[in-house]
Amino acid sequence: MEIQEKKNIYVGVQTTQTRDIRDFMMEINSYKNILVFAEVGDDKVCENSLELLGEANRLKTMRNNDSWVIAAMVGNDVKKYAPTLFGYGADKVVAFDSPQLENYRSDLYGAALAGIINAYHPEIVLIGATALGSELAPTVAAKLRTGLAAHCTALKILENGQFTQVVPAFGGKVLGDIYIPNHRPQIASIKAGITKKLDFVQKDGVVEDFSCELKGFDRMKVVKVEKVHETCKSLTEADCIVVGGFGIGSKEEWTKLEDLASLLNGANGCTRPVLDAGWVSNEKAMIGTSGIAVRPKAYLGIGVSGAAHHTCGIKDSGLIISINKDENAPIFACSDYKVVADYKKIVPALIEELKSRK
């Protein structure tokens, strides 16, 4: 990396100083280690955060293991989750426990995570693009006046050591490389299902308590928290996903896909029009840019046209088979096997075939 002129580097919250180039490099190099924001939801650590610990370990090897993987937790009584984080790859856990952090608020959580980052100076910060994380990440990036790459589909470290983030645009039709050369930390948000968690290994580590002043807005209040408990199998855990598109045609027909999924011990996924039509009510069943990314052993797509908005969320699947009556459906180009037919003829036959093999 060559830097010819004086640069500004912004350390901490809103302190701006002009320094000369050697100071600048020293400042940049003083940022080390990889920090993962470990989000707690439904009384456990989010899968997404565990996946990011796996990814952080992969990056750590690319940094010749000369880095720590730090997991940062923010909440009320969250320190108890530290063993899970160690087991999935954290070297150190930093926990900010406070009754003020009982419920998520962008101002307080933003202040808390920015505080941790200011104290630990990580070079890279990974945040899951959950609903909470997608808001927390830009909040913290703005507080620290640093760069954030959104919904990364891949992270790389180039031969020259440059950290590179690959981000989607135009509904996944275009992928762009993003660099954050002159600001630290380099923050990335990543959706569930993109990176892989490690196998759990019982292991100990250092837990550090952290606290700082939480400057928030008195005029912001949480008035109600509603939790919905999952009743169906999560798509990220299913080996086989039977995905229906708008071509299914009606809610009545949709039940056949549910039968099919259960015969395959799998789960049902859908496209956005299906969710909009109300054939499926579980929002987490939607796959694609506005939904989740999946990587099952097998994806069976039925009546799905294959818009980039959807296919960018399935490309890491093992096997992809699709059924569509339109020979030119774009989904076929990204399928291992294609069936050009009316699904109403194929699905009943599939159900019979599976029953006969049970």
């Binding site: 439904d42 609903a131 912001m220 080996d239 908005h309 088979i321 069936v339 194929i346 019979e352």
Partner: protein, 263 residues
């Protein structure tokens, strides 16, 4: 109630499958794709206009874009916004979300006192979903994204924000910034009458000299994130056709699924 709505003109998302990357120049080709208001920004406009209808005041549209995007902004005025601010300068080109939100915040500050700022949760094209919260940070206002419901009593807003495992309701004393999702409302259509009236509404243009953003975070040079190469995602697979009677096809599909480890 004075409400600012951030509206981004984008290439119509219906046509994104037509976007091609030029292998030589490594830029994308969006030629022939019409420009429209980013989908969620219509929901932001609807939310603002209906709050104004209840509590009075005005709705101002803020757009950072090249001057050629005027027609799209007229659509927003046609929907019922009262005035527009087009923020346009070569110096703003290449702004990442931190710079974009810095510039939008400076324009909103310059234009007057706003009680509420509404944005889309994410745009159709860049879709980073970062500008809304960052705008809140630059304006030093409380901010909420993923909003599925918004009510206002004139001095506070009451919003429901979707979470992965449920939702959180907030009460926030104004001023505040919110980012809305498609759930929040159904945007009204733009009528011919509305478009006629739009021509009489104030249309302001801000250049770099008119506003005072933090000068360290403007344009490509002031953007912490720097773009590198672009590519199309590798998605191609062998696309082998399975033929036969429905029974034969079903048998083959099940064989392949079992081979892939499905039981």
């Amino acid at each position: 109630m004075n409400i600012a709505v951030c509206v981004k003109p984008v290439p119509d998302s219906k046509y994104y499958d037509q976007i091609k990357i030029d292998p030589v120049t490594k830029t994308w080709d969006r030629s022939g794709i019409p420009t429209v208001i980013s989908d969620l920004d219509k929901h932001a406009l609807e939310a603002a206009i209906s709050i104004k209808e209840k509590h009075g005041g005005k709705v101002a549209v803020f757009t950072m874009a090249p001057p050629t995007m005027k027609d799209t902004i007229m659509q927003a005025l046609g929907m019922g916004a009262d005035e527009a601010y087009l923020i346009s300068d070569r110096a703003f080109a290449g702004s990442d979300t931190l710079a974009t939100s810095n510039i939008l915040a400076a324009a909103i500050r310059k234009a007057g006192n706003f009680d509420l700022v509404i944005t889309g949760n994410e745009s159709d094209d860049g879709s980073t979903a970062q500008v809304s919260a960052q705008l809140g940070e630059w304006l030093e206002m409380p901010h909420v994204m993923n909003v599925t419901k918004i009510d206002c009593d004139g001095s506070s807003i009451f919003v429901t924000a979707k979470q992965d495992n449920g939702s959180i309701d907030y009460e926030i004393g104004l001023p505040a910034v919110v980012g809305v999702t498609r759930k929040v409302n159904k945007p009204r259509f733009v009528s011919i009458m509305g478009l006629m009236k739009a021509k009489q509404k104030p249309f302001n243009v801000f250049t770099a000299n008119d506003i005072e953003p933090d000068p360290n975070f403007v344009g490509l040079k002031g953007s912490p994130t720097q773009p590198g190469g672009i590519a199309s995602p590798e998605m191609g697979r062998k696309s082998e056709k399975i033929d036969g009677t429905p029974e034969e096809i079903a048998k083959r599909i099940v064989d392949e699924l079992y081979k892939a480890g499905i039981k």
